[in-house]
């Protein structure tokens, strides 16, 4: 018999490192981890389908979205026009395919802008506290107390519908909510000892906010962004429906619903099919948000 597995009897030299817990997921879900959530996968599939449709619109659309077809006599779906045509006898399928483009460029663009503003304000308010927090939070409260749709309508009808104005309106409507969420996360995260450790290294406030706090808020913010994508797509649709969307004749899902509504009884497909497009895209983002949230609470 001989001695085995014998750690040296020194107080410090006896440490072995054979028992690391490996494969423990960190709190922010890795993209690969999405495979473990069927809900998130379905959401992602819906979103990706629309992204591909938007990207390949010239290849996929059978006709120009603005061309009028006298052949579409009864405007109902047919061999030539699979989804039928609208009241101006334009091919509905082509218009829905081309209509994915403005919504899938405008919504992310507007949200990125809103997040830049909201995260900066929220981090600042949460980290510094005091009067800075009061000013930012109270201003946000005022903006949040307006009904969102009223805000959109008032803003766009004042400055006129254009891509830039829609982005600006989304920032103004969404940023206070994002700032409030970020502020709450910051208040929580800044009590961690690693923030105190950074302070005792003499790190700047900007470094602590951007490098120590923000990465740990990332998971929650990504989930929130997915939810907000849904809201924003709906808002853009509503603006189109109210005639405050992108100017015609370019296809816009909200605008298509508006044009189809007067003939809803006779030709229901004209309004319902663009609605379905909005629903599937929004559903995709909501499912993705649900799945990501679920993954985070599991981790």
């Amino acid at each position: 018999m001989s001695d085995i597995g014998r750690p040296a009897p020194g107080g410090l030299d006896t440490l072995q490192f054979d028992t690391f817990a490996t494969g423990v997921p960190s709190r922010a879900p890795r993209w690969r981890a999405i495979a473990r959530s069927p809900v998130a996968l379905v959401g992602l599939a819906l979103i990706f389908s629309w992204v591909i449709v938007a990207a390949c619109a010239p290849l996929l659309a059978p006709y120009s979205p603005t061309a009028q077809h006298v052949t579409a006599i009864d405007m109902m779906p047919s061999m030539h026009h699979w989804l039928g045509a609208d009241s101006l006898k334009r091919d509905l399928l082509s218009r829905i395919i081309w209509g994915a483009r403005p919504v899938l460029t405008l919504a992310p663009l507007a949200l990125i802008a809103a997040y830049l503003v909201g995260i900066s304000l929220g981090l600042t308010a949460g980290y510094y506290g005091g009067w800075i927090d009061d000013v930012i939070s109270r201003t946000g409260d005022v903006l949040l107390s307006f009904p969102k749709i009223v805000m959109y309508v008032v803003l766009i009808s004042t400055v006129g519908p254009s891509q830039a104005n829609i982005v600006a309106a989304v920032v103004l409507v969404a940023a206070p909510g994002i700032a409030r969420l970020t502020r709450g996360l910051t208040l929580d995260l800044k009590t961690n000892d690693y923030i105190a450790a950074a302070q005792t290294r003499g790190e700047s406030a900007i470094f602590i906010m951007a490098a120590e706090i923000l990465p740990n808020a990332r998971g929650m913010l990504i989930v929130d962004a997915c939810m907000r994508m849904g809201y924003t797509i709906i808002a853009i649709g509503v603006l189109g429906f109210l005639g405050l969307g992108l100017p015609p004749p370019d296809p816009d899902w909200g605008g298509m619903v508006r044009e189809g509504t007067p003939m809803l009884i006779v030709f229901p497909h004209m309004a319902l099919l663009p609605c379905l497009a909005i629903v599937t895209l929004v559903l995709g983002f909501n499912l993705l948000a649900d799945g990501l949230q679920d993954l985070q609470s599991r981790a």
Binding site: G11, L12, D13, Q16, S26, Y194, Q199, T200, E203
Partner: protein
């Protein structure tokens, strides 16, 4: 033979989340006779709490009883319906958890909650229930029970809450009491009282109790029989006295050797850490569970099968799970790690690196009230020494540390770092050299490291900020050196904190603090969240780092055992004031400040060769909101002088010897006549030398 109250046979508890089952308890058998107190000790992950949860059938969605039987007074706990189980819980089986706040409903008054227990379980009338509740609150020695009844839980202190929980548990007169770390969230003085109270209540009611704890000393005080758990199994079981005087399993011996002895310190003998980490089981072991950490393991013997739990001698009540339990003498100390050089004669060489002068910190609350967390503190930190700051929570010891490093600023007084006063400077307003000079190690290993950063990245950042390393390559090189210095393998650099154990995280935190070779490191309870065997390794690492860099260590702790071991000098704080300051030898021996004396008397002790004097301490630490003009300790002091002098006049800080001072009205001559708290037990060999040497004048 009377039927046992609780009989557990071959219990297996498993958890299934993702992937293979996690075995928490493997083949555990346990019998509790009526009126017995059984202690289950082990480190985190040993499965001790899972045993209690299995008895209560509270294993949750992922856990299950995979095998074995649990019988409570003949009732099969594993088989009975949820409805019958509800009838048992709270009435015949009661449980007291670590955090009293979770056991009480925060939205209901204490009285309503307690009376409900009786009206629900016993069908008592509200009037009769109320009378019994008042009696039971008196039993747990809560002053003014009528007022307590009208309070909400948040209006009570942690100690008061735990007393209410205990009275609640005993109200229904349970036959079995499960105690899961019932005092771990409390201060040491409160812990002592609560534990004594529990023992008294349990004797009075003849209740059988299962006491689960990581604290060996506490178990020794409370329990008749003790089982030591490791890796989901009991590795040793014996009557408490036998276990502590004659431990046989290498793990039990290791745990006891990890604890500092009262008659030694780092200059006398080094502590002996158990190597490796607590085992995690995932399958039936085919070798001894403790094998990877065992220093006495033999091939062909220990690696072939997991040994059975068997008696040390035939018919003995002392059971051990080891194939060679008695073939080597008790390992107490580490023969290879030499004791540190004796301390230099006082004040001979070491210059102060930091001087605190009349420091006061006041927090102004929004409602106009004021909290005085530090009141007129003066002390110095000498180069390379370890200065311990001890006191209960709320004594202001952490605030002192936070002011020194610049996380808080002083209201009045000076903190001299070199020849500059930094007391009013937040860290970011300090110069690079001043920031580099003072670094800090925090308490909670789970919050000390940023979960989004890899270990390597955070150490490189600390080196870049605090060290003099020009290039990235140099930083990376230095980072690897630093990891080696704190005994972590190089691959840790690419890991995230979530992949490390508590002890490993604290090692990284130590590496980060020492990155810029600071002259002062403030350690705020650096080991209180760690397991016993890990604590020792971290303490030894701190000592090694301190020696290597000749760093002064301000060691903030409530653990007097560790303080005795590590500290050169000790500051005792109470209610924001320094009540005693002196060398460790002087503070741990008479003359004591009465508060120091009560702290020492409440200190949990495992050493069977020592007898500890018991002191009654009434009340809890006073609120820092109320600053009396007299002594802050007067309301609780067991040696309070007759007359009003203690209440009305601030006591003077009197020098008792060179470098030793006591803030008390009691004349020093009287304090010197106080007998030591620790005395050698009658007939014990190797009488302790500690505790009887007054500081050399």
């Amino acid at each position: 033979m009377i039927a046992p109250v609780l009989n557990i046979a071959d219990l297996d508890v498993r958890y299934t989340v993702d992937g293979p089952d996690v075995v928490a308890v493997a083949g555990l058998s346990l019998t509790l006779q009526r009126g017995e107190t059984y202690g289950l000790v082990g480190e985190s992950g040993s499965g001790k709490s899972s045993v209690a949860m299995a008895i209560m059938r509270h294993l949750g969605r992922h856990g299950r009883i995979a095998a074995g039987s649990l019988h409570f007074n003949g009732i099969d706990l594993a088989a009975i319906s949820q409805r019958d189980l509800r009838g048992l819980r709270g009435s015949r089986i009661a449980m007291i958890y670590q955090d009293p706040a979770t056991a009480l409903n925060p939205t209901k008054r204490i009285g309503v909650q307690l009376i409900e227990v009786l009206t629900h379980h016993d069908g008592a009338s509200p009037g009769a229930a109320r009378r019994r509740v008042l009696d039971s609150l008196r039993d747990v020695r809560l002053a003014d029970p009528e007022t307590i009844l009208r309070r909400y839980p948040y209006q009570l202190s942690g100690g008061q809450q735990q007393r209410v929980v205990i009275s609640m548990a005993f109200l229904a007169r349970p036959e079995l009491l499960l105690l899961d770390e019932p005092t771990s969230a409390l201060d040491v003085t409160v812990e002592r009282e609560i534990v004594d109270l529990l023992v008294e209540m349990q004797r009075a009611h003849g209740t059988t109790a299962l006491f689960i704890s990581h604290n060996l000393a506490l178990v020794r005080r409370v329990c008749g029989r003790v089982g030591v758990m490791y890796g989901g199994q009991i590795v040793e079981e014996a009557p408490a006295q036998t276990l502590f005087s004659d431990p046989r399993h290498p793990y039990t011996r290791g745990l006891l050797a990890c604890l500092p002895r009262l008659n030694g310190n780092k200059h006398v003998q080094r502590l002996h850490a158990i190597g490796g980490q607590v085992a995690r089981l995932s399958a039936t072991p085919c070798a001894c569970t403790f094998l990877p950490r065992c220093e006495r393991a033999r091939t062909g013997l220990c690696d072939t099968a997991n040994p059975d739990l068997g008696p040390v001698a035939s018919g003995s009540a002392h059971l051990v799970r080891c194939v060679r339990p008695d073939d080597s003498p008790t390992v107490d100390t580490d023969p290879l790690a030499p004791a540190l050089a004796p301390p230099p004669p006082h004040g001979a060489v070491n210059q102060p690196v930091l001087r605190v002068d009349s420091l006061t910190k006041r927090f102004d609350l929004p409602d106009g009230r004021k909290i005085v967390a530090n009141h007129n503190l003066s002390c110095a930190l000498l180069a390379g020494e370890t200065l311990a700051v001890v006191g209960e929570s709320g004594s202001g010891k952490s605030t002192l540390g936070r002011i020194l490093i610049g996380l808080e600023v002083a209201t009045a007084g000076k903190v001299m770092l070199g020849d500059m006063d930094v007391g009013r400077l937040e860290t970011r307003h300090r110069s690079g050299d001043q920031i580099r000079a003072v670094q800090m190690i925090f308490q909670n290993p789970d919050s000390t490291l940023n979960p989004a950063w890899t270990v390597g990245a955070m150490l490189k950042r600390a080196l870049a900020r605090l060290g003099d390393f020009g290039s990235r390559n140099q930083c990376a090189l230095e980072m690897r050196k630093l990891l080696a210095l704190v005994r972590l393998p190089a691959e840790v650099a690419n890991m995230l904190p979530s992949q490390l154990s508590g002890g490993q995280k604290q090692r990284v935190a130590i590496a980060r603090a020492f990155a810029g070779r600071p002259s002062i490191v403030i350690a705020d309870e650096p080991i209180s969240a760690l397991d016993t065997s890990v604590k020792t390794a971290i303490i030894e690492l701190l000592l090694a780092m301190q020696e290597a860099y000749h760093t002064a260590l301000l060691f903030i702790s409530h653990d007097l055992g560790i303080v005795r071991y590590i500290a050169d000098r000790v500051i005792v704080m109470h209610a924001g004031e320094i009540v005693e300051i002196g060398s460790a030898d002087a503070v741990f021996a008479p003359p004591y400040h009465p508060y120091t004396e009560t702290l020492l008397a409440a200190m949990p002790v495992t050493d069977p060769t020592i007898v500890q004097r018991r002191i009654e301490l009434r009340g809890e630490a006073p609120s820092l909101l109320l600053q009396s003009s007299g002594c802050g300790f007067a309301s609780r002091c067991p040696r309070k002088l007759a007359g009003d002098v203690c209440d009305d006049v601030a006591p003077p800080l009197r020098p008792a010897a060179t470098g030793h001072a006591i803030r008390c009205h009691i004349p020093l001559a009287d304090l010197r006549t106080v007998p030591p708290v620790f005395m050698p037990a009658a007939g014990a060999s190797g009488a302790p030398t500690e505790g009887r040497q007054p500081a050399a004048p």
